[in-house]
């Protein structure tokens, strides 16, 4: 199935994808059984493209990213199958010391909570400089100069004076900029940002997202943006992949998905968020709860919550099939994507 996937059309048109995740499976062994966190995820990211992975907690969006970065906790985690092709090489076949050279230098990650991701007892200059000392063998003095340059680049005012300060002396927005600077240090080709602005206030969130988008454009990087916020996604993404219970249920160019979702889960999510520009009477609510990953419903995992569920949904897992008759390269894992699309038109 993964081989039949056609490429999405990002703004840039490099033929070979930067990252190609194929049929990835990840599970966690727990005391109560095996939790299937990722169940056959396929996606590609090209240079200069922003892929947003959207999902609620427990949908497997972060676990997929951790597997790509190679920072999954093993055990209890285990990659149960699949390939992660990065510039044509399967990362899962690399030895740990080879993987270390990829991590940081070729792909980097930005975490949600900058305060706990930074080391509180080292100055930010030392932490930024460490990247150059470890990967490039620079002297501490040169590394510090590069740290100041990086801080300038992420628009931290008075970088020269602040390079010796500690994380707690920075505000939340500034700390997240330092995280971005650290990820950019070695000019990687791919950046994975896991909820980069969730912990920030809305005015600061706007600043940080703008910075991230500018830098990505400038450096022509691939960006995977993991988020639960449909609003943030709308502003920056090229392509959206919606995840539910460890699978991608819909994938589409950003403009198309908001206009007409082709999966009832996406549709429900879009309708359930209150909008700033609309004052409705009652919000649409997706009934029920996300599934327990140790006991994922048979057939389509969304069927117990789906208003359109039929008998076939309870027994047959819908493939991530091509959606035809609409603009853009779209896929939906719903037996009734056609009906869902038609309903959205009305």
């Amino acid at each position: 199935m993964p081989q039949t996937e056609t490429q999405p059309q990002p703004r840039s048109t490099t033929a070979e994808p930067l990252l190609d995740v194929r049929d990835l499976h990840v599970e966690f062994r727990t005391r109560d059984g095996v939790a299937k966190a990722v169940n056959g995820v396929n996606y590609t990211v090209h240079a200069g493209e922003t892929l947003a992975v959207l999902g609620e907690s427990g949908s497997g969006k972060s676990v997929t990213a951790q597997a790509v970065m190679g920072i999954l906790d093993v055990p209890p985690g285990r990659i149960a199958g699949g390939e992660i092709l990065f510039k044509g090489r399967d990362l899962l076949k690399l030895k740990e010391d080879e993987r270390r050279k990829v991590r940081g230098a070729e792909m980097a990650m930005i975490f949600q909570d900058a305060l706990s991701a930074l080391n509180p007892v080292l100055s930010v200059g030392e932490q930024l400089g460490e990247m150059f000392v470890v990967h490039k063998g620079m002297s501490r003095k040169d590394a510090k100069a590069r740290a100041v340059e990086l801080m300038d680049r992420v628009r931290i005012p008075a970088a020269k004076e602040r390079v010796g300060q500690y994380p707690h002396q920075f505000s939340g927005g500034m700390r997240q900029r330092i995280m971005i600077a650290m990820a950019l240090a070695l000019e990687p080709d791919l950046i994975i940002a896991d909820e980069p602005t969730t912990a920030l206030d809305v005015t600061v969130q706007a600043q940080v997202m703008e910075l991230l988008a500018d830098l990505q454009r400038e450096l022509h990087m691939g960006l995977i943006l993991i988020t639960h916020d449909l609003g943030v996604v709308a502003d920056v993404a090229d392509t959206i992949a919606v995840m539910y219970a460890g699978r991608i249920v819909e994938r589409a160019p950003v403009h198309e998905i908001y206009k007409a979702p082709a999966h009832p889960y996406t549709k429900g999510l879009l309708e359930s968020i209150p909008r700033l520009d609309q004052k409705g009477h009652e919000l649409y609510a997706i009934k029920g709860l996300p599934p327990n990953l140790m006991n994922i419903p048979p057939g389509c995992a969304f069927h117990p919550r789906c208003p359109m569920a039929q008998d076939v949904c309870r027994s047959v897992v819908p493939p991530l099939a091509e959606v035809t008759g609409v603009p853009g390269n779209r896929r939906s894992a719903c037996h009734f994507w056609k009906e869902t699309l038609d309903a959205a038109d009305q």
């Binding site: 609620e56 809305v202 005015t203 600061v204 609003g231 908001y258 700033l276 997706i286």
Partner: protein, 349 residues
């Protein structure tokens, strides 16, 4: 679509000149006050019977401190909170206990606000231990089951523990506890911000339904402007311990006149990529100043693109701005800016 700006209800809670300063001290043996964190620095608003007043602001603006003072978890440094004409900040003992029964709170984090060692029945029934006059002992179990039913949980879950529930279900338990004493006012401090999007809508709809069922008045505190608009009749925008603009939802969202409100609204990502082309983003520079050392004059002037010399000198009052006096329409509402002007930042349909 426009809401009536003045709901007919009687004022049930009147807050005036509310101030909370936390002293900053130095020295271990001889503590000396060297300053104060001005968490709340002069807040006025009125809550009417049956309405929802939304309070929005970024972290550190003092909105949660206001909530704590409303339910008497914090004592104000100055100012008055009048519940039906009676200043509750001056009450103590039995009189205070009686008032507190009528003002209940729903907390933000459903994971830490429920005791993990108590059953759901004990958690929801605990308010009856403090106010036994509301429900006689033999009647309590039945009442708790009724409450579970009201918030959409199975009444048979009464003997379960919090960890057996999901986040959304836990928040329902917190709401049931808030309703137990049949209060008139519910202060909800970020009640849905810890929940997933699909569950958020369920809880917001529940709060909406309960309001009409029990004739509740809500003070709804949140940082999410979209949710506040959805649920509120009137909205107050806070910045650095003060309310900078207050009005009906149409007045605030469609006709904001304070630059901070405009920036805040324009920063909210709208889940519609075609809307991004239609709207102008105002990106504020810098961070919120420390409440221990707020700027002179207008608290927003350090980040404001309109700031002039006057803003550093004079504190703008929360009144209808001079430019709009005598005028009519939705732009006429209290806004504490010397240079207030209307600007549409939320794209209309």
């Amino acid at each position: 679509m426009p809401q009536t700006s003045e709901p007919a209800g009687e004022p049930i809670l009147e807050v005036s000149g509310l101030v909370k300063h936390y002293p900053l001290t130095q020295g271990i043996l001889f503590k000396k006050q060297i300053g104060a964190v001005k968490a709340v620095d002069g807040v006025d608003f009125t809550l009417r019977q049956g309405e929802t007043l939304g309070i929005v602001g970024e972290s550190g603006c003092g909105k949660s401190t206001v909530a704590k003072m409303l339910v008497n978890l914090e004592r104000p440094t100055a100012g008055a909170i009048k519940y039906k004409g009676e200043d509750i900040t001056k009450l103590s003992g039995r009189a205070l206990k009686a008032v507190r029964r009528n003002i209940q709170m729903v907390f933000q984090d459903p994971y830490t606000s429920l005791n993990p060692r108590m059953t759901v029945g004990d958690i929801i029934g605990e308010p009856y231990e403090i106010h036994p006059e509301v429900a006689p002992k033999g009647d309590r179990r039945k009442r708790v089951q009724d409450l579970l039913d009201v918030v959409g949980l199975n009444p048979e879950y009464i003997n379960r523990y919090p960890h057996q529930f999901s986040g959304g279900q836990r928040q329902r338990i917190g709401i049931a506890r808030g309703l137990a004493l049949r209060p008139e006012i519910i202060v909800a401090d970020e009640p849905v911000s810890a929940l997933d999007v699909s569950v958020q809508a369920q809880v917001v709809n529940l709060l909406d339904g309960l309001q009409s069922e029990f004739d509740l008045s809500y003070v709804f505190i949140a940082h999410d402007l979209s949710i506040v608009r959805h649920i509120s009749d009137r909205v107050g925008v806070m910045y650095l311990g003060r309310v900078v603009e207050i009005g009906s939802d149409t007045e605030i969202y469609d006709h904001p006149t304070h630059p901070y409100t405009q920036a805040l609204l324009s920063a909210v990502p709208v889940p519609d990529p075609s809307a991004r082309d239609r709207r102008e983003r105002i990106i504020l520079h810098g961070d919120v100043p420390s409440p221990a050392d707020p700027p002179s004059g207008c608290p927003f002037r350090t980040r404001c693109w309109k700031a002039q010399e006057r803003c550093a000198r004079e504190v703008p009052l929360l009144v209808v701005p001079e430019a709009f006096r005598g005028a009519e329409g939705p732009a006429v509402h209290p806004s504490s800016c010397h240079f207030a002007e209307e600007m549409q930042v939320v794209p209309s349909e």
